[in-house]
Structure formats: C-alpha cells, structure tokens
Amino acid sequence: MTALLRAESLWKAFGDREVLRGVSLELSRHEVVAVIGASGSGKSTLLRCLNLLEPIDDGRILLGDEDISDPRVDANAVRARFGAVFQSFNLFPHLSVIDNVTLAARVVHKVPRKDAEARGLALLERVGLADKAREHPDRLSGGQQQRAAIVRAISTEPEVLMLDEITSALDPELVGEVLELVRQLAADGATILMATHEMAFARDVAHRVVFLDGGRIIEQGPPATVFGAPREARTREFLARFTS
C-alpha cells in the first residue's frame, strides 16, 4: 500500500534552534497515527510543516504522488485538502458556530450556503451541538468549542485530519467528550495524524505511535509495542516520567 502522506527527512530551524532534524514519516489512508513526545520535541512544528503552515528548510512532503513541498505548488489548494484542529480551538469569535463550520465550504469550495449549512447542521447534530449552531463560540464550553472546531475541520471532508494536542487546553471532565468524537472519526475510517499527551487514548485508538524527541523520531510502532515494550531507553524514560 502506498502512503497517502509521506514526509522525507524534514528539517526545520527557528533561528539557530533546530526543531526538526530529519523526520521521515508515512501515513496510509484510514490510518491513525499518534505523535508523542515532551513539550518542545517538535510535534506541533511537524504537524504545521506537513500542513504547509510553516515552510520547511529541507526534505520533501508527498501527498499521494505530488510533491507538495515544491514552491511551485499552490499551497492554498493543498491546505484545502487537509483538516486541522488546534490546541486552543482557534474558532473565529465574530462568526456563529454554523458560520465557523461552513466558512471553508462556502468560500474555498464554493458550496452554496444552503447545502453547506445543511451538511454543517447534520455534523453538529452528530456531535450534539445542533442547538448551539446559531450561538457564538464564546458562549460555548471548552469541550463544546473543540467539538465545533473538529466539525469545522471535517466539514470539507479532508483527506488527512491533523489534531494538534486538541485536549491540552481542556478540563479533564471535558477531555472525554472530545476524545470520544475522535474515536468515532477513527472508527469511520478517517486518516488522522495527532500530536497528543493522552497516552491511554493513543494506545487505544492509534494504529501506530511515533515517539519524537529532540526533533528526531526515536521509535515508532504499534501502540502495544511502544507502550508495552519500548526498545529505546529514551522512550522508556519519557513514558516513565509520563505515567508517574
């Protein structure tokens, strides 16, 4: 099976601080991959680079057979094929929930407002937010906001969904509702790349776990192996610190 998204030895530095130091990663269709690692290990930067939100310094990113890191590529068109959810939701405060959800469909994909709203409402209904559609994001709880943000990301049926520590800004009691939604999306066959600190969730839902440390992939494999019997000392150290 050829990879849907493939990163080949990505390098990225901010000033003289190297954040990614030769990261290679493959993601197949319908695969759920969890990226774990300490804060500052490069998880968010990796996701942003893959999303073309941050230019890479070296390496190559392939979406299907297309080299999307080529400067001749229309980055906007590529980003329209991805979905992204951020740690602090990043909903647009001046738009109602339904307008947040349908913005990309209407403006980028030129879907008529009626059709976009019908689809948006159906998705909101599915995540239990149908009654909040006309509210503005500030009126919603954190968990509701993040579910709305996920709906916004999937409303255009992205080929890859990137989740950047989407539960880190949530209360423990709100984390569950968001993770449940991700679990459903994974079960429906979405292709997901997520940076996360939720080890139990990664172990449960991800097909593969990638451990990132100091801008390099130290270890990757099925969750049972990475969490159960990590090969590398660094991984063991990180996981021990995390579970204690």
């Binding site: 030895s9 601080r17 130091r21 070296d58 390496g59 400067p71």
Partner: protein, 281 residues
C-alpha cells in the same frame, strides 16, 4: 548550530526561489519604467508643462522664499509641539470620562459624548474662526496666535483622538478586567496598569495616523492671521506672482510627515512580527 547540510533537492528549491525573486525585481523595474513613460507622455511632454514649471518650480524663487517660509514653518512646529501635549492629555481625559461606569457619572458621560459629537462634526476651519476671532473678542485682549492655534487644534483633535482611545479601551477583552479585579486591583488601578497599556498598544497605528493629519492641519492656522509657513508663502508669492513658495511650504510639511509615517510602518510591522507565530501566512 547548523549541523545540517542541505540536500540537492533543497538547493534546487532555493535556486528556484532566488530565480523567482530575481524575476520579481525585473518585473518591478519594467513596470516602473512603463509608468515613468506614461507620466512623461501625459505630463512632461504636454505644451503647458513649461508654463507650469515656471510658475510652480522656479528654483531661484524657491531659494529666495525659503528663509521666510521656514520662519513661518517654525510657528507651525510650535503649535504642533504644544498641541501634541494638550491633545494627548485632553483626549485621554475625555476617553476616560466616556468610559466611566455607574449612574453618578451620567452627566459627565453625556458631556464627553456631546463634546466628541460636536467637534468631530464641526469643520476645522469653522473651529479656527470661532476660536481665532471669538475668544479675543470675548476677552477683549490680544492673545498670541500660537495660543489660539493650539486651542483650536486641541479642541478638534482631542475629539478624534479620544474616540480612538475609547475604542482601544473597549477592545481589550473583558477577561483582562476580570483577572485584574480578581487580583484586588481597583477600577483606576485596573485601567492604568492593565487596560490602558494594552489599549495603547492596539491603537498606536491609528494614533500615528491622527498625528500625521494634525501635522498638516496646523498649516490652516494662517486663516486666523498667523504668519506661518502657508501665510509666509502667500506673502512671498503675491510679491512675485509665482506659486513656487507654496510648493516650498508644501515640501516642508511633507518632509515633516515622512518620519512619522515611516515610524508608523515600522511599528506596525514590528507588532505583526511579534503577534504572529507562523512565518508565511
């Protein structure tokens, strides 16, 4: 710490980007040349150009008029300097009055609102006439034009600037007040230490814009008889029947505005850099 040597692919991409930016420079040069040709054909090559040049751009008359126009310009600068201080103080006061909470301050809020309504609506020239001729008549004394000009500029510009400051105060998210009050800071302390510093940062670009507008509006004080750069130019040009002195005064005002405009650009660019995490969006 650059331990990494770029791959052939990356070197290729960099070469492509360099080629692209070189092409952009060439396109810019070509379009500038084309524009220059259009200007030359439509303005310089017209039969009236020589006459225009003679009556607006006569270097000898410009040189002769410069000392007098410059003396007048110094008066403009004085009005500007004084107004900068008075406008800042008055505008801040009016903005604070307008945002005072509580029923006790209702009359003050109304007064402040009425003031901004009237003086933003009133043309500056009318304010100048009223102040320039009204106040001396009222007090029956000679008042220096420097003072009269400053009062007129202050009345008009405080109204505009106070509204900008108020918008800035209201643009600070309510959660910031909440956090400050929760720490035990009082209303005034919250305003002074949390709200205003954030508000001023937000409104610096529009404030600079108002300052640039003020820089050139001080040139209007000539209509109440102040011998500033504009009136000096008028006197000079009536002696020679040549408009060049006006151009000299105009150039002085533009030269005054340019540093402020550049400073505004630099500051907004710096704000943008600070607040943005991604580098390409």
């Amino acid at each position: 710490m650059t331990t990494h040597t770029p791959s052939a692919l990356e070197i290729d991409r960099r070469a492509y980007r360099t080629r692209q930016s070189r092409r952009s420079v060439l396109v810019a040069i070509a379009s500038t040349l084309a524009f220059a040709i259009v200007v030359w054909v439509t303005i310089v090559a017209t039969p009236g150009w020589a006459a225009v040049q003679e009556s607006f751009f006569d270097p000898q008359i410009a040189l002769a008029a410069l000392p007098r126009v410059w003396d007048g310009f110094l008066l403009n600068l004085q009005v500007l300097g004084l107004s900068l201080v008075t406008v800042s103080a008055c505008a801040l006061l009016v903005a604070l009055l307008r945002t005072l909470p509580g029923p006790v301050f209702f009359p003050l809020r109304v007064l402040a609102a009425a003031y901004t309504d009237v003086f933003r609506g009133l043309p500056f020239i009318i304010v100048l006439y009223i102040v320039g001729f009204g106040i001396p008549t009222l007090t029956n004394t000679r008042i220096p034009v420097l003072l009269l000009g400053t009062i007129a500029v202050t009345l008009t510009y405080s109204a505009y600037v106070s509204e900008v400051i108020r918008a800035g105060i209201e643009a600070v998210h309510p959660s910031q007040r909440l956090a400050a009050r929760a720490l035990g800071l009082g209303y005034t302390q919250t305003l002074g230490r949390v709200v205003l510093p954030q508000a001023l940062r937000k409104i610096t670009p529009p404030l600079m814009n108002d300052f640039v507008a003020m820089q050139k509006d001080v040139g209007l004080i000539s209509i109440v008889g102040a011998v500033d750069a504009v009136l000096a130019a008028k006197i000079e040009s009536s002696q020679t029947y040549n408009f060049t002195p006006y151009v000299v005064a105009g150039i002085l005002f533009v030269l005054l505005a340019i540093p402020t405009i550049r400073l505004t650009d630099w500051y907004t660019a710096r704000l943008r850099r600070r607040e943005q995490t991604g580098s390409i969006l």
